[in-house]
Amino acid sequence: MRPPRSETRPMSAPQVAVVRPHPAAPPTLASASPQVTGFRSLDRAAQIALVLALVTGLITHAYHLFQYPLYSTDEGIYVERAWAVIREDRLSPQTYVYDHAPGGWLLIALWEFLLPGNFESFGNPVAGGRILALLLHLASVFFLFQIARKFSGGGLIAPVVATFLFNFSPLAIYYQRMILLDNIMVFWVLLSIYLLIRGRHGLFTGLWSGLAFGVGVITKENAIFFAPTIFYLLIRTTRQDSNRRFALTFWLFASAVPVVGYILLATLKGELLPAQLSLSLTRPPQGHVSLLYELWFQVHRNEGSLFAPGGFLHVLWLPKDPYILGIGTVAMVACLVIGWRERKQNPALLVAGTLAFEIAFYLGRGSVILDFYVLPLIPTYALCIGLVADRAARRLPASTARVAVPIACALAAALLIAPSGGYVLKHGQQHQLQLADQYYLPLTYLQLDQIAWIRQHIPRTDKIITDDDIWVALHDKQPYPYAQSHWNAVSDPRVRSIFGGGNSQDINYIALSNGMKHAMILNNSNGQENWILTALNSATEVWHASRGSVTLAIYQVHP
């Protein structure tokens, strides 16, 4: 059985760059860099800068959070799995196919469980998840600020620039607002790095850092690409440490524990090895799902190039923010080159550069990617840009530096205001100046209206094909037990049996968006979606709403 998910599991590798304060006498990461122990240890200016970073992060991500962007399929998938954890005591309401390790939605489940109203606390179930994403973003801002500060030897330029981009980039805001595994993974990875660079190394620093990293891996497997760089950072930061053996061993042990737990889970369920021990990609083994087969399948997926004209880079990422991608790539190269030269004195730039490079390489290598896979690239690029800016500022003569600060502020303001950047403002359809989409365009009301119409007009016993974004809304309160996503209806035999094993006549309604229709067509290479598309072709539209390029509709299928 193939995973019905819209997402695959990629592996990405980030890089950590560390910038030194002065090229003539670079501080080492362990010695000359500042102690990074917490808010109170910061001087006044750093405290103000950090508070500003957190406040701007809060504003840019919280404002309009429930309206934009549209609740996505993947957000819906993770929230519905969290729902299954709480309500059904299992990892997925459908057959769990090991398409992802469950760390991310276990955290979401914990969060939803703690909320007084569980999934209904913020109206829509996905909205509750977005609040968690917001909190994780703020924590990530803190970690990124401290990492950049440490890597730059205590200056404020690097952390301010890095967190500015991390907070304001339209590309960042668009994806960071969503409750996605990648966002959760970024939080864990930044935490893992932060634990290594904060203050004096304690005996259990390696343990906690490794554990955070391990949880990151079982949140989103591509975190594994960060491992070499983080471990290198650990080696460098413990070079003079009498507890070095413990630190290294604890890190390896603790990072392995969550992964071993995941493998053990599959083993206990009898789903580690594929049925008939077959790894055939052309004839998938039948009988039961398998962790190893799924990994094998994903490793061998290769679908198109990121750089192709219709790829995400050109269609989605560059239009949202060409600055962070363009300047970030240059900064990454600079970090790698300079970092390699000075690696013996200070590995900071090399660490930052390799973190970014590994992710960039992962994205560019030509495997299957989804649009939000860009997420881990954003903090690493922001870090590289911040560190290179810091290095450039330090090379300026004192007289020039006095002028440079106001100029840099002016540039930042220009970036925010310039409509072409879309950071805060943009041109509307009539070329009028308006707030950028992330602060202006409401979209999710369409989904709320769709759910409301279903509740009002469709009997709860009807069978509905829909998308995952509204799945929990249709199952948690006033449930529609026969409402299922098209992904699962075509790939999971247990779900398909609800619809007569894939019979168009057994569908009563189809609730969809133009995005879902597009996905069904893309997912129909083997004709597995035909029975739904057939039903759709003969159905009557009973509800319709649209805003901009987004269209939602509900179709009644005639027997």
Binding site: L203, L264, L268, K269
Partner: protein, 434 residues
């Protein structure tokens, strides 16, 4: 319903064992989480001022006693400030003869500070010997060395300095088993000592509830006399006196410095090991029953003392649990969540094993020894049998205690630790030849 109860019990027990293991792991590594200065000896020694009475309780120690006496008499400390008392039961003719022979040799070199003290009353055990020795002690500080101990030549300088610098009246110095590659279990035994003396005892001392070790412990003579000496009916009189001193509010300093440890050997056979461990476990049970720990002033101190003294009983239960676990592994089908939780203690075992591997490296490096891959392999293969052996000894202690058997099962000493110290071996050989 029954099945649910079994699952619930497994989950609860596994979580409790995991918490306990994590706590033990923390204690095992406690000193590495503290500033390094806390455990090392002073780099500069004060001029000798404090006088010491060394008590060496010995029974059937003909093979090792002369070398031990020779070692003490060679200490880098004025012999006029050292009194050596070898305490023997009067019926131990062999040891007494060896001691007298050694005294005679020393007198020829001008050393008059060694004497043998005998007793004819009972009980014939170490604490009684110590109390007898205490009656003959004349110096400021009394200390205990076991008959097989290889004492560092500067140990008196260390304690003289610490006692003066820090104004403490009780010092526990490091004791270290050395022969890590003698038997399949010796590395594990060595590392137990290593972590106990180097790390865990510091936590006990800081908390103020410390079961002291049996030797290389230094007491102000007036203090030890005032509290009435050692409990002659306790199989771990050392742990008992430590808790009594703690209850009296006495500050106790632990000094474990790899350079100055007293070197000892692991029991030479499995039977000897089990007898020794049985005695310790039973002694802890006796001390627990005696209730001195209840007199400790704070709840934290009482809890730590209770936890430590009750551990042998827990170890006995754990031994049974291991067997049950092995059986249920093949016979009980549980839900995945339950199985995952019951796996947690296994992770802790793995963590402990890794710590022991690092500990082996730290230990061998500190003492100029070499741990081969075979040593690590023995560590791995011997891990579970060793734990079972500890549990068996704990069970045996429970059985002995319940039937009132409190006789002293003496540990045999063969001097295996001296093979690691060519100097000590040479010295022992020379003296034997002499």
């Amino acid at each position: 319903m029954t099945r649910d109860i079994v699952y619930g019990a497994l989950v609860v027990f596994s979580i409790l064992v995991t918490i306990q293991s994590a706590h033990t792991l923390y204690l095992t590594l406690y000193i590495w989480a503290r500033p390094q200065s806390e455990d090392i000896a002073p780099e500069q020694f004060r001029p000798p001022r404090i006088s010491f009475t060394v008590m060496v309780p010995a029974r059937h120690e003909e093979a090792v006693i002369q070398a031990t006496i020779g070692r003490v008499c060679n200490a880098n400390y004025p012999q006029r400030l050292i009194q050596v008392l070898v305490v023997c039961s009067a019926d131990d003719k062999g040891t007494i003869a060896k001691v007298k022979e050694k005294i005679s040799m020393l007198r020829k070199t001008g050393l008059e500070n060694v004497s043998v003290v005998t007793f004819e009353d009972g009980p014939v055990n170490k604490p009684h010997g110590l109390n007898v020795g205490l009656l003959h002690a004349v110096n400021d500080v009394v200390t205990i060395f076991d008959a097989e101990d290889d004492v560092h030549l500067d140990i008196f300088n260390v304690v003289n300095t610490v006692m003066q610098n820090e104004q403490v009246r009780v010092v526990q110095a490091g004791v270290q088993l050395m022969n890590f590659d003698s038997t399949w279990y010796s590395a594990l035994n060595v590392l137990e000592y290593f972590f106990w003396f180097k790390s865990r005892l510091h936590y006990h001392a800081r908390t103020g509830a410390i079961p002291l070790g049996g030797n290389t412990v230094f007491f102000d003579r007036e203090l030890i006399t005032r509290i009435g000496g050692w409990d002659e009916h306790n199989l771990t009189e050392d742990a008992d006196i430590g808790l009594r001193l703690s209850a009296a509010g006495e500050r106790i300093r632990v000094v474990y410095d790899d350079r100055y440890v007293t070197k000892e050997e692991t029991p030479p056979t499995v039977n000897a090991f089990i007898r020794q461990r049985t005695r310790w476990s039973q002694g802890f049970m006796q001390t627990l029953k005696k209730g001195t720990w209840k007199n400790l002033p704070t709840r934290k101190q009482r809890w730590l003392a209770f936890y430590t003294l009750a551990f042998p009983r827990g170890q006995a239960v754990l031994g049974i649990y291991v067997v049950i676990s092995l059986l249920t592994m093949f016979s009980l089908k549980t839900p995945e969540q339950v199985a995952l939780i019951t796996f947690l203690p296994v992770l802790m075992i793995l963590a402990f094993f890794l710590i022991y591997v690092i500990g082996l490296q730290e230990f061998t490096r500190a003492h100029g020894l070499q741990a081969s891959p075979g040593s690590v392999l023995r560590l791995a293969l011997g891990w579970l049998p060793y734990q079972l052996m500890l549990s068996y000894a704990a069970l045996r202690a429970v059985a002995r205690e319940s039937r009132g058997a409190t006789d002293w099962e003496k540990t045999q000493h063969v001097g295996a630790h001296r093979e690691h110290d060519p100097g000590a071996l040479l010295e022992a050989s020379d003296e034997t030849a002499a």
